[in-house]
Each structure stands twice: as structure tokens, then as C-alpha cells.
């Protein structure tokens, strides 16, 4: 069901681990939903100098975290903010419909980390909307 890129990203994820001295940290999800994603950012100027993640979740969640963190490294915060879950899915070569929410979680966690950094800087948080974690199941067929 997963593409080879997803499996490769999952089995050899990058940017794994805690970051003790992070400038911004974002955590989304819950054990009830079955996925938790935590993103750590090191910010230099308005750019993401370093990024780490920790994920509890399925292969798609881990692959999405890894891919998303690789994508935002070096981006400005504004660029990282506008990274959509669709960008992540595309870079993974696709995700099964039931797994798309994992990529949403990844971009949500990034935004949470950015807003954490903004708050620490005394800046007002950007408006992230609210997407929740346990989305409603779409009927698969008819």
C-alpha cells in the first residue's frame, strides 16, 4: 500500500531525536488518535537552521515527519509555514487515502513549532486554523 519512497523514508528517517536547546517546539496529536508528532526548531534570523522530530505513530506518520523536516531545513519561517501537507505527500510519492492525515499532522506540528518560536519572541502567533486529529472517516465507496 505504501510507495517505495515512503518505506525508504520510514526505514531510514532523518532528523530524528530530541533537541535540548530548541528555539521552538510544536507537538500535535494524542495517544488516543494513535499519532503524536513533536517538532523541534533551531532558528537563525528568520531561517530554520536545524530541525528535529519525534513521532509516535504509523509508518506514514514517521515518513511524513522525516520528509517534512528535510523539506523545511533552511527555509524561512514564512516558507515553512506555508508548506502544505500536499507538498509532503507529493514528496513521498503519494500516501494511501487513509494516511493523508499523517501529512496534515506534520505540517500542523511545524506550524505549532513556528508559533511557539513566535510566542517566545513576543510575536503574535499566526492563525493556523484548527484541523483536529481524529478526522471524520470518508466513505470509501458509494
Amino acid at each position: 500500500m505504501y510507495t517505495e519512497r515512503v518505506i525508504a523514508e520510514f526505514t531510514n528517517p532523518e532528523n530524528v531525536g530530541e533537541m535540548a536547546d530548541a528555539d521552538g517546539v510544536g507537538e500535535v496529536g494524542s495517544p488516543t488518535c494513535g499519532d503524536i508528532m513533536k517538532i523541534y526548531l533551531k532558528v537563525e534570523g528568520d531561517r530554520i537552521a536545524d530541525v528535529r522530530f519525534q513521532t509516535f505513530g504509523c509508518a506514514a506518520a514517521i515518513a511524513s515527519s522525516s520528509m517534512a523536516t528535510r523539506m523545511i531545513r533552511g527555509m524561512t519561517l514564512a516558507e515553512a509555514w506555508s508548506l502544505s501537507n500536499g507538498d509532503v505527500v507529493e514528496s513521498l510519492g503519494g500516501l494511501p487515502p487513509a494516511k493523508v492525515h499523517c501529512s496534515v499532522l506534520a505540517s500542523d506540528a511545524i506550524r505549532a513549532a513556528i508559533n511557539d518560536w513566535r510566542t517566545r519572541q513576543g510575536l503574535p502567533p499566526w492563525d493556523a486554523g484548527s484541523r483536529g486529529c481524529c478526522g471524520e472517516a470518508e466513505p470509501e465507496n458509494g
Binding site: I7, P31, C33, G34, Q54, F56, G57, A59, A98, C133
Partner: protein, 399 residues
């Protein structure tokens, strides 16, 4: 990735089994040689009819039943649907209440949900931390309106074996019928429908090295049961459809093989299982065994590993050529934790981190060693990724 994918270490026998060569050999003549319709009048139907009759005797013998009480169908799900809808609808005048357990297979639970939409009342019995139903809870739940109690013989996820004889006794004491889903039990739990107070029993061929798409329902003589599949007069007017003769013959041979020496088979399989369980619990901290310590299927080992999620475990094992299963299933928008594990009292997190290894006839001690050599590292890797892992937790050093 290793390249064992074509012949992996397969430890998912509760999902499905390979078909034994003896079974295929039994089926072979019926595909293109003795292909006739067993219900036809001409002599050419004799061989197919004899094949079906022999299979019916084989299934009956395995259950301590009479051949006329065996009805062939297309699998465990159909048998469950048929038994439960069939009894509920046929006895609706007598009562509208059905009792089942919280840990049944979806073929039972979703059928009960359907009946609820038709106006029936359904009670879902709780289970204890080991997944056992207390016969006393049946006694409490049962009323004058109860027509059917359905509790599985053994659970497909955690392997827990139920006190079916006692549950059946309570049902009978109150004039209700007793159905049991024995799909996982055949070949592992000796069955005697009379001694166990069973009125209806479901089984499925591909769980005991028989053909996929075959199953049977045992129906005690005199049981009021509506048809599920209406049409021709096959199976003595109770299940329409041209008989799947090769499948039926294969099912018969498979059940004969599977029940020839249950005790010896269980001894061999349980020895491997116990070594597997000890090895896993000994090398991986924050791991627990789900299901009952002793009243469990000989081939079932089900663990929860804290801080990690089951599908990830599965896919890392797959990358090492190991086929396993998890209770953590994916539905759109969220991970659905196993209803069975939740019913035994596990938290969502623990339920998500479950791994089921089910042994079978082709497994060897080497397979157990291989899994034991791979699994601690897999759990360790995922724990290092997880934000839930407390500092220091991970993999115990094996001494």
C-alpha cells in the same frame, strides 16, 4: 530490506494459512475430472456427491456432530452472519434479545449491529483483563426475550479461550440457543458440540491449512434458523448455490488433518510459542503479554510495547522478512485501536503498540530465534523516534 519476502518467516497463521499438499491432492480430481454438479441425477454426479458426503462426515467427526448437522458455506464470515441473523430472525416471535461479547470478531459484531438496526436488542458482555467472559455475566444479562447467546471459542487477536461449555449451559438453562465462532479454535481446541452445549458453530477452512472461501456451519438438529442465501435446494434447502465441490473436499481433508492429533500439535507449537514469549519479555522492557497466561491458543503470542505503534513495528519486521500482525488498524483520519485490547482494559497507547505473532505448522525453532534476534532492535529503533519514550527506556541488554 532482505530478500526473504517471497518466503518470509511467516508468523501470521491466525490471518490465514498455506494450504497443505494433502489438501490440494484431495481437491485435484474435482476441478476438471469429477466436475459434475453433485445434485444432478446422472451417475456422473456420483463422485462429486461422494466427495461432498465424505467431507461432511469428516467435519462432523471433528466436532462430535452428525453429518446431517453440517452445512457448507463460503467461510467464517458467512457462517457467523448466517447463524446470528438466521437464529435472530427465525425466533423473532419468541424474543428480540441477543447476547454476545465485546471481543468478538467483526463478522459477529457487525452482524449484531445490523440486527440492532432491525430493532433487536444486543448485550455486549465485558471481559476481564485476560479477555475472558464470565459465565456469570451471561446469567445476569439473559432474559425471557433472549433467543441467542454468541461467544467465540477462542479469540483471533489475543488467543484467549472462552469457557464455552459453561456459557452454553447458562444459555440452555434459560431456553436460549448458543452459537460459537470457532474459526480460530478448530485444530487447537478439541470440540465436542454436545459436551460443550453448542447449538451452532462457525468454522473457516483457510485457518487450518484448508482452502480459502470455504466454511461450514454446524446446526444442531431441530434448530430454528432462517436462510441467509436463498435459492436452489442445495445443502438440504438451507444454503443455496452450486456446491463448491473441490473446496468442500479440501475443507474435509484439512479438518481431518488438523484434528487428528490436536494434543501433539499443540505441544509442539506451544513450546515454540512459550520460548518466543519468554524471549520477548526477557529482552524488551515495558512489554506485556496480552491475553490469558494459560487459557490461550497454542500458536498465539500477542504483546504490547509501550511508546511505539503497531504498524511501524510490523513494517520494520517486514523489512527483515517477518510477517506479523497488529491490532492497530488504519481507518481514515485516525488509527483505530483494537476493540479487543481496549476491552481487556488497555489504554489507547498500549493498544496501539500491539504485535501479534501466530505460529503454524511450517514454523521452526530457527524462526523463533530469528524473530528474537530482530524484534528488540526494531522496538528500540522506534522507541528512539518516539516522543513518549521516557529517558533511559528502550531495550534491555540481553545477557
Amino acid at each position: 530490506m532482505n530478500d526473504q519476502a517471497d518466503r518470509p518467516v511467516y508468523m501470521d497463521h491466525a490471518a490465514t494459512t498455506f494450504m497443505k499438499p494433502e489438501v490440494l491432492a484431495a481437491m485435484a480430481p474435482y476441478f476438471s475430472q469429477y466436475f459434475g454438479n453433485p445434485s444432478s441425477l446422472y451417475r456422473f454426479s456420483g463422485e462429486p456427491r461422494k466427495g461432498v458426503d465424505a467431507a461432511r462426515r469428516q467435519v462432523a467427526a471433528a466436532l462430535g456432530a452428525n453429518p446431517e448437522e453440517i452445512y457448507f458455506c463460503a467461510g467464517g464470515s458467512e457462517a457467523d452472519n448466517w447463524a446470528i441473523k438466521g437464529v435472530a430472525l427465525a425466533n423473532r416471535k419468541r424474543g428480540d434479545h441477543i447476547i454476545t461479547s465485546a471481543i468478538e470478531h467483526h463478522a459477529v459484531l457487525h452482524t449484531c449491529e445490523w440486527l440492532k438496526r432491525q430493532g433487536f436488542l444486543v448485550t455486549y458482555l465485558p471481559v476481564d483483563e485476560f479477555g475472558r467472559v464470565d459465565p456469570g455475566s451471561v446469567e445476569e444479562a439473559i432474559t425471557d426475550r433472549t433467543t441467542l447467546v454468541s461467544v467465540m471459542t477462542a479469540n483471533n487477536e489475543i488467543g484467549t479461550i472462552q469457557p464455552v461449555a459453561e456459557i452454553g449451559r447458562v444459555a440452555h438453562d434459560h431456553g436460549a440457543l448458543f452459537h460459537t465462532d470457532a474459526v480460530q479454535a478448530v485444530g487447537a481446541v478439541p470440540i465436542d458440540v454436545d459436551a460443550m452445549n453448542i447449538d451452532l458453530l462457525s468454522l473457516s477452512g483457510h485457518k487450518f491449512y484448508g482452502p480459502k472461501g470455504t466454511g461450514a456451519l454446524y446446526v444442531r438438529r431441530g434448530t430454528r434458523l432462517e436462510n441467509l442465501v436463498h435459492g436452489g435446494g442445495q445443502e438440504r434447502g438451507r444454503r443455496a448455490g452450486t456446491e463448491n465441490v473441490p473446496g468442500i473436499v479440501g475443507l474435509g481433508r484439512a479438518i481431518e488433518l488438523a484434528t487428528a492429533d490436536i494434543e501433539g500439535h499443540n505441544r509442539r507449537i506451544a513450546a515454540m510459542r512459550d520460548r518466543l514469549i519468554r524471549g520477548v519479555l526477557g529482552s524488551i522492557p515495558d512489554a506485556r503479554l496480552n491475553g490469558h497466561p494459560t487459557e490461550r491458543l497454542a500458536n498465539n503470542a500477542n504483546f504490547s510495547f509501550r511508546y511505539v505503534e503497531g504498524e511501524s513495528i510490523l513494517l520494520l519486521l517486514d523489512a527483515q522478512g517477518i510477517c506479523a500482525s497488529t491490532g492497530s488498524a488504519c481507518s481514515s483520519g485516525s488509527l483505530e485501536p483494537s476493540h479487543v485490547l481496549l476491552a481487556t482494559g488497555l489504554s489507547h497507547e498500549e493498544a496501539h503498540g500491539s504485535l501479534r505473532l501466530t505460529l503454524g505448522d511450517a514454523n521452526t525453532e530457527d524462526d523463533v530465534d530469528y524473530v528474537l534476534s530482530v524484534l528488540p532492535d526494531v522496538i528500540g529503533r522506534l522507541r528512539r523516534i518516539s516522543p513518549l519514550t521516557p529517558p533511559g527506556a528502550g531495550v534491555r541488554e540481553v545477557d
